[in-house]
């Protein structure tokens, strides 16, 4: 019975999300900006070995990873790592703001506003930025721990007989699913901060309370779009092999796909989550 109810909630959220996105495509604008920022960094990092970008980027690359990585084709081995740092920067600045602005726009749509306002939403988001930053930081730290801790432990235990441990790659895939599970636990922090104007800790309490009731539908909702990211994640893991089988520039295509897929999944996830949050809020008010 509970399962059926959860499925119903998830289904109605999906329907509402597609309807909202089809009727109000401007909800995607914040994510377009965030994706453009990532494209901008990808281009700069791709051109890092060449003048004029090399004047700034070559010295740190030389110092930290070695001169070889400024040359073709090794620069493409380094590119995903550098791009990861750029993505982290975008996440803490434009990324988290895009989440919050879109969430606010979705709530404006559900309130019956004809045209959700980007500028107005952005204005609200800027005022709530410290709380949003804390959310971005906690997601970043948690994912870092989930991804790096098993790898660190495996590296430490590496000298024990082989075959008794999963490979590092299997750990990465397990970590990927754990991250989604944790994300489902914390995701309502964004709409709580923006729509209900809660502080970070207030939002944390609120999301905890919500998770107790609708954790499974939330997980089901997040899992489908995030599985799209799984394909790109797999390609990124196998990039060195793919490069040797094809050509080094394939790295750019994979990272480009990463930007597009992240754009789509983040947009869908935040719209879905906000819709579900509003449905839940409505139910609570009725009670």
């Amino acid at each position: 019975m509970e399962m059926r109810k959860n499925l119903e909630i998830a289904k109605s959220s999906w329907k509402l999300t597609f309807k909202t996105l089809r009727e109000y495509p401007r909800i995607s604008v914040p994510f377009v900006f965030s994706a453009l920022a990532e494209v901008f960094f990808l281009i700069i990092l791709y051109y890092a070995p060449r003048y004029p970008f090399s004047a700034i980027l070559a010295p740190p690359i030389k110092t930290f990873v070695g001169e070889a990585y400024l040359h073709y084709p090794l620069n493409f081995i380094l590119l995903p790592r550098l791009f990861y740092f750029a993505k982290v920067f975008v996440w803490f600045t434009m990324g988290i703001c895009a989440w919050a602005v879109s969430s606010n726009m979705v709530s404006q749509v559900q309130e019956g506003r004809f045209l959700p306002s980007i500028a107005g939403s952005f204005n609200r988001v800027i005022r709530r930025y410290p709380a949003l930053f804390l959310f971005a930081l906690s997601i970043f730290i948690l994912s870092l721990v989930i991804f790096k801790l098993p790898q660190f432990l495996v590296m430490k235990l590496y000298f024990l007989p082989r075959g008794k441990y999963f490979t590092l790659q299997s750990f990465s895939f397990i970590s990927f699913f754990i991250t989604i599970a944790v994300e489902a636990l914390l995701i309502y922090i964004v709409p709580s901060i923006i729509i209900e104007r809660q502080s970070f800790f207030g939002a944390l309490k609120r999301t905890w309370a919500l998770s107790k009731e609708i954790y499974m539908p939330t997980l089901a909702i997040i899992l489908i779009p995030r599985l799209l990211e799984m394909g790109v994640f797999f390609l990124k893991q196998k990039l060195p092999l793919i490069m040797t089988k094809t050509f080094p520039e394939i790295t750019l295509w994979v990272l480009g796909a990463d930007i597009v897929v992240s754009f789509l999944t983040n947009l869908i996830v935040i719209t879905l989550i906000t819709d579900l949050f509003l449905i839940k809020q409505g139910v609570e008010k009725e009670i």
Partner: protein
């Protein structure tokens, strides 16, 4: 608005196009040529003349576009190797001569070219001509890596032809030459390389006992020097390869004792652990 976007796109593409680097473009061409080269060489029996030609054209493009680039010399070498694979020895040598005139200031490259020319003559069955070139390397490019390898090439040839006396004589001359080099400047990288060359000569003759005696001599003669460490490491490698791990560990432990708190001691400890692990498995 559309015009505005178009102008922005044009400016961006113009700026990015201006971010060109000759070296980077050369590296790209070189990598592609190398990929083709490896493909042809790994399947050389099935390769057709047109396949060879395609790779040669790819390298030729680098030579024409970037004549002074550091890897252009290697492009010449690879072209010559492709000609040798097709038994076109004259063409291979002509490539190497062209390379010598392009890089005449770089003695290492020129010496290497002379050696490769000599080897093409050897493959053609003209050892007298090969010897002429090898002698040029030994006399004119004395301080190069190639010059130190010449005795090894000669020994290999004499082994193939069964000229044991000449082989022994070359071997003795070579060891003398390397010893002299070590004694002239024992604290240099060249001296360490000379130890390697000596070991290569011993390996050619498969003379393990002689090699160990030679290394013991170096250990006594150059106490607490990099040569001593090098000799001890070399001894451990010989013992390890000949299935005597305990003696290998003994040599490495001597490094740990003699070079306390150095990178060498750290490296020796790592190798001891590796050998112990091998023994356990």
């Amino acid at each position: 608005m559309k015009k505005f976007y178009l102008i922005i796109a044009l400016i961006v593409s113009f700026v990015l196009n201006a971010c060109s680097s000759e070296e980077y473009s050369a590296e790209k061409l070189y990598w592609r040529a190398n990929q083709q080269y490896n493909r042809v060489l790994s399947n050389i029996d099935k390769a057709k003349p047109v396949d060879f030609q395609k790779v040669i054209v790819a390298y030729r493009e680098i030579i024409v576009k970037y004549p002074n680039w550091q890897n252009t010399a290697q492009a010449y070498f690879n072209i010559s190797r492709l000609y040798v694979s097709q038994k076109k020895y004259d063409m291979a040598r002509s490539e190497l001569e062209k390379m010598k005139s392009n890089f005449y200031r770089q003695t290492d490259i020129c010496a290497n070219a002379e050696v490769v020319i000599a080897l093409t003559y050897e493959e053609e069955g003209r050892w007298d001509k090969a010897l002429e070139y090898l002698d040029i390397v030994e006399k004119e490019y004395t301080k190069t890596y190639s010059a130190f390898l010449v005795p090894i090439y000669k020994m290999r040839h004499y082994k193939k032809t069964g000229e044991e006396d000449l082989r022994q004589k070359t071997y003795k001359d070579a060891i003398l030459k390397y010893k002299e080099m070590i004694s002239q400047s024992p604290d240099t990288i060249a001296a360490l390389a000379a130890v390697d060359f000596s070991l290569a000569a011993f390996a050619e003759l498969r003379d393990k006992e002689e090699a160990l005696a030679y290394l013991d001599g170096l250990i006594k003669e150059y106490p607490s020097s990099p040569i001593q460490a090098k000799a001890l490491f070399s001894k451990s490698i010989i013992y390890r390869r000949s299935g005597q791990p305990d003696l290998a560990i003994e040599s490495l432990e001597e490094i740990v004792k003699k070079f306390v708190n150095t990178e060498l001691a750290k490296l020796a400890k790592e190798q001891i652990n590796e050998i112990k692990k091998e023994k356990d498995n």
